[in-house]
Structures are given as structure tokens and as C-alpha cells.
Symmetry: C2
Subunit: 226 residues, 2 copies
DNA sequence: TTGTCGGCCGATCGCCGACAA
DNA sequence: TTGTCGGCGATCGGCCGACAA
């Protein structure tokens, strides 16, 4: 994935350490993250281990589209830790020179946005700063947008400026996207424009308060809460 | 899974060895089955290994509904192989006493059967011998069938006898089943009746000549052959 | 007996402006 | 400016008998 697109999808609050930078690996934290139920951790490995970030991969979940980073940590001796790797972590990974700025806009989906059969209300700022400009000579102003997701799949949306009062909307193509990505109210979409004609779309899932998996049973194609 | 239902789904041509029977394990065949591309097999383990079937599990794929058996093989010494396990493999696994015969009918789906929006043409013999009898006093004769799949999920179908000339059809509920199981023309469905009111439905996939996975690319929700 | 087709009816999808927050 | 709603037109699913293999 393009590092700029990855960063835009992840959001500004997400930071990852620089390549070859010095970090501490906390086995206990890792274990609890992987398996929150079993709290029995061997105290022999409970102390933090000095490491160096030996590789970084920016990835996206093939199903949920959520972006994540895969870091390889190489353990180093404690006494060498402070002096062996004097790489200045000046530039964080994924923060490239802004010779080609990526314009970004994220919106939390409303009920109307996520509703099946509905469209997507495009905030004014998003339409003005991220989307290509419409031709306001024709009425109503309409264009097709071809937008690429994190997997390189291209989606096309009908972008129209209509209604009283006028507002920007995504209509045709939107519900197909919502269904395919299984987006629900509270999730976010991220629109990005890299160059004049390169647009990308990303997804951020809402913090799962209690997603599925609970009791209940399937009866044919219908789901019955138990 | 009920062994009788498992056998009916698998079909008469499928046979599995008896529990505790003596078999030979062929590592090379196993390896080639798992990974057909790499043909480099260590000759040290290329000879068949005498084993005893120590356990048998009748299972069904949670996605495709295809039934399969899981056999555990326990290796035994060559000299003990012939005498150590004199269990007579008189009754094959899954071939129980027919104190309660399972009536079965399988049909290969036609284009019309698998077509979206269409129904299912029920062969006369299936309706007569497997389905519960219709009440021919009313016109048209109709009933709802509640049929359980290999996972215990119950599906209901509308069974009607109509048209000129008259024929048995499954209408409402059928296309939902086809879509959920992703059945296509050439696949088979198996109808089973264990007791008077217990009906089951199974699936046999068509021998995959060249199923998906090949070249091509996704463009939005559409698939374009490459 | 049963596979395929066109007709047709009803349900759903999804685009629309009207409001109001 | 933009979230939600009811209206309504187009599309599609899916039930039907007609016909022929």
C-alpha cells in the first residue's frame, strides 16, 4: 500500500516508530493483548526486552479494509542498546516529504448514510477540497467518481449536487459499497485525493462496543436473538 | 452428524474403512494431495506405512456443506500388522442396521433449477417417495416442507403441484437456499427422509473443472475476466 | 415427465425534494 | 449546512402456465 494512503486511512492519531529505532518489547502486554483471558504470565519473561525495529510493513485487512502495521523486532543486548543504533528517528515512518500532499476528509456515517437504499450526504468541505469540481453550468451538476480502495479495487459513485437547499450527495454506487464493506452507522469513510485525478477511499470501523458473536441461533437464513 | 445422514449425503460410491481395521498409509500420496506442485519427496518415507484406524469422525464443511471423514491412523510394527488386530471388518463404518431406513433422492441441478428467480423441478419419484404426500383434494395441492441441512439449520420450502401438465415444484424458499449454499448448475441436492416427519437436505458440488481462482481482476463489485 | 421460456404482478431499491435541526 | 423522512418510479425477484423435448 502507498504509505501516504496508509497514513491517511489510519488517521493522524496513529504513529508508528521509525525503522531501526530503539523500542522495548513487553511480552506481558503482548500476551494479554493476544489472550486477555489467561492472565498467568511467566515472570521470567515479564521484563521489557530492548529491541530494534528491523522491518515495517504497512498492510490492510483483506476483509475489513482496516489498515495495520507489521513490525519486526530484533532483540539487542542491554549494554549495546543505547549506543549501537544511533539512527536519528528524525522522520517518522510514513511521513514522507510533502512534495505531493494527500488531501483527506473523513466522515462518521450517519444512520441515513448507512441505511440501505439511501445515499451519502457529502459535507460541503469534502466536495470542495477533495472531490473534483463539478460543472455548475449544467443542471443538476453531476459527475461520476472513480475511487480506489486500499486493495486497488476501483469503485464508481454518482456525485450530484441537487435538492432544496442544494447539497452534495453520492447516490448510485454508494449502497453497493456500503453492503460490500459491511459498513454500519458509526463507521467512518475516508476520502483521499493524491494527485488531480487519483482518488482513494478508506474505511475505519467504529470502536466495537459489542460486535456480534453473542448468543442466538440461525434458522435458515434468518437470525433469531437467543 | 448422524451417520445415516452423512452416508446419504456422501453417496453410495463413498466407502470408508472400518474402525480398527488395518490400512496402509502412503506418505507420498498424502504429500502430493496436499501440495501437487512440489514433487520432491524424501525417498526415506516414500514407502507405505502399516497402520490401524484408531478413530473416525464424520464431518461436514461449515461453508460448502460437503461431507468428509477424518481418520486417525496409528502406525504399527510390520510383523505385528497381520496378527495384532484381528477385528473382522464385517460391517463398514456408517452402515448401520436398517431398522430405520433413510429414503434418499439426489438430483443434479439443471440451469432452470440453479437460475436465480426460478424454482426447483421436483422429479416425480422424489415427491412420491421422499416428500410427505400432498392433499390432492385441494387445488392446487400445496404444503410447506421444513428440511434440516447437515449443520442442523432448518430451511422451509413451498412444495406445490401445479401447471399443465401437472408437476411438482419447490418455489418459495428455494432461491434463498440456492444463493446461501452458492449452488450452480451441475451441483446436486440430496433429499432424505429418516422418519415420517424428519427430512434432511444435503449438497454435492459438481466436480470442479476449473473453479475460480484463475486470472482476472475485480473492478468494484464486478468481476472482469482477464 | 420435466426443462425452458415469456408474461406478469408485487416487493424492494434507491432517487428525489421537502422540511427542520 | 445537512440529517431524516415520505413519495414514487424503475428495477428485479419470483410465481405462473404454455409448450416442447
Amino acid at each position: 500500500i502507498d504509505p501516504k494512503i496508509w497514513r491517511a486511512c489510519a488517521g493522524a492519531s496513529v504513529q508508528i516508530p521509525a525503522l531501526f529505532s530503539r523500542v522495548y518489547y513487553f511480552p506481558q502486554g503482548h500476551a494479554e493483548h493476544c489472550c486477555p483471558s489467561s492472565s498467568v504470565i511467566s515472570s521470567a519473561v515479564a521484563s521489557p526486552i530492548p529491541c530494534v525495529v528491523s522491518s515495517i510493513s504497512l498492510l490492510a485487512d483483506p476483509i475489513t479494509d482496516e489498515v495495520f502495521a507489521h513490525l519486526s523486532l530484533h532483540p539487542v543486548a542491554q549494554d549495546q542498546f543505547q549506543f549501537q543504533f544511533p539512527f536519528p528517528p528524525s522522520s517518522r515512518f510514513g511521513e514522507e516529504r510533502d512534495d505531493e500532499k494527500v488531501v483527506t476528509f473523513a466522515k462518521v456515517l450517519t444512520a441515513s448514510d448507512a441505511n440501505n437504499g439511501g445515499g451519502f450526504s457529502v459535507p460541503r468541505y469534502c466536495a470542495d477540497s477533495v472531490f473534483p469540481p463539478l460543472d455548475f453550468q449544467v443542471d443538476p451538476p453531476v459527475q461520476k467518481l472513480f475511487i480506489t480502495d486500499v486493495h486497488g479495487v476501483v469503485w464508481d459513485f454518482r456525485h450530484i449536487y441537487r435538492g432544496t437547499p442544494r447539497r452534495h450527495l453520492l447516490t448510485t454506487g454508494w449502497s453497493k459499497f456500503v453492503n460490500n464493506k459491511k459498513l454500519i452507522c458509526g463507521d467512518s469513510v475516508v476520502f483521499m485525493r493524491k494527485s488531480v485525478h487519483e482518488m482513494f477511499i478508506g474505511v475505519r470501523r467504529a470502536p466495537s462496543s459489542n460486535k456480534g458473536g453473542g448468543g442466538g441461533s440461525y434458522y435458515g437464513d434468518e437470525y433469531y436473538a437467543g
